[in-house]
Structures are given as C-alpha cells and as structure tokens.
Amino acid sequence: MENFTPYSAAAGGALIGLGAALLLFFNGRIAGISGIINGSLPQPKGDTLWRILFIAGLVLGAGAVVWTTPLAFIPRTGFSPILVIAAGLLVGFGTRMGSGCTSGHGVCGLARMSPRSLIATLTFVATGAVTVFIVRQVVGG
C-alpha cells in the first residue's frame, strides 16, 4: 500500500462531493462530466453557457491547487501517445454509450442509489482493473 494518501483523498473527495451537491441543489443538474461535455455539443439554445462555465471551473479549480501549491506528484511523461489517444477514444465513446463516467455514475448516481449507476460503476471498475492487470502483469507495462 505504497503512496496511500488518505487525508488528501478524503479532503479532495469531500470537495468533489460538495461541488456535485451544489450543482444539484442550485442548478438541478447532475455533475456528470461526460454528460456535461456531451451536452455542450449542438444543443438547444440557452443550455451551453452553464456547461462551459462548469468546465472552466474544473480547469481553474484544479489550476488553483496546481499553480499555488507544490505538486504532490511527478507528472507522468513519456507515456505512449498512441495509448493515450486510444484511451481517450475509448473513454469518450464508452462514456457516451454508457451515459456517464465516474462523476456521473460514481459520485452522483450512487448517491441517488440508482441501479443503473451501480451496475455501470461496478462494470467500469472491473474492466479498468482487468485492463491494468493485463497491462501490468501480463504485458509487463
């Protein structure tokens, strides 16, 4: 259990939950980031600005931490660009097909006790784990 960081994990997690709770309480929206992004592609009028602001907030919020405090980790470099792109394609495709990602299904859906989100979350954690197992243990990546 190297690198286990329970305190920052708990603090960060609480903030994530707070952001989700806020969006629900004030805007009536699920803070499912894949959904927020996908919804910002051609949309009925009036529906895009809040999405852009939320996403801007995501970048700026992370930036506020990253730009003002010493980075707690060494950013990964030299990772295969082909794998990065393949991963991105799969995540983009899969989250749209599956109607959500870790924030939508994991943070929001499970809080609402949605059966769809439970199945989705168990599924993506499972295939994520299997993928890492294959890459790390089988391929030796």
Binding site: L22, A62, G88
Partner: protein, 138 residues
C-alpha cells in the same frame, strides 16, 4: 446570473477536489486499479468521501419542488439496465485502465500544461463524436 455563478463554483470545487485528491495523476488512478500489484486504495477513499457529501446533498435536495436557482431538475429517471449502459461502461473502463484518465480529471489535468491530458481530451471528444455518429445513423 446566480445559475451561472453556481455552475462555475461547482466546477471550481470539483476541480480543486480532483487536484487535491491527486486524481489528475493518471498513475495514482492506475495504482488503484492495480489490485494485483502495488495497490493504492486512495481512489476508494476519494469516492467514499465524495459519495458521503454527495449523498447528504442529495437528501437535502430531493423533496424540494425546484432547484434553488433553476426552474426544474434535470435528473435522469431511467432505472432499467440495458446493453449500452453495460457495454459503454465496460468500454469506458478499458480506456480508464489504459490511460488512467476519466473525463473530469483529464480536464482538470489540462491545468498542468502538458501534452498528455490535451491529447487525451481531444481523443475523448472524438470518441464521443464517433458514438454520436453511430447512433444517428440508425
């Protein structure tokens, strides 16, 4: 106006949370999924903490007629499990395990000014677009 500020604030909170929790570090995410290897349970703690707060927020919100600043709730009401849900989640999980990024953290990671998150986000948008194409042609 308040609606837009709330959206921005929600994003700021989530973004800062993701960074503090180091979820913008793909290696930390992969270390959580690496159950057979050097396992780092941090992501589980992140999710539990996020769920706890999100749950409280949800309980405080349902039962209200309206959100505080908007006219209506936009909460999905489907409860059925169908193939796109499962297949989509499975595919997403593969990409997540491969790259160590999911949508939120990838966007937050853009703040690092590195190529990797940028490439990932671009590919993610393409992937989403491809799915949109697929379903439109039915």
């Amino acid at each position: 106006m308040g609606l837009y500020l709330a959206s921005l604030l929600a994003g700021l909170l989530m973004g800062s949370g993701l960074a503090i929790a180091q979820m913008i570090n793909p290696e930390k995410v992969i270390a959580f999924l690496d159950f057979a290897g050097n396992w780092d349970p941090s992501l589980a703690v992140v999710l539990c903490a996020a769920l706890a707060v999100s749950f409280i927020g949800y309980r405080l919100t349902i039962g209200r007629d309206q959100p505080l600043l908007a006219n209506a709730f936009h909460i999905p009401d489907r409860r059925d499990i169908d193939m796109p849900l499962v297949a989509g989640a499975a595919i997403f999980g593969i990409g997540w395990g491969l790259g160590g990024y999911c949508p939120g953290p990838a966007i937050g990671a853009l703040s690092l000014g590195l190529w990797e998150p940028l490439m990932f986000v671009a590919a993610m948008l393409v992937g989403s677009f491809l799915y949109g194409l697929l379903t439109r042609q039915r």
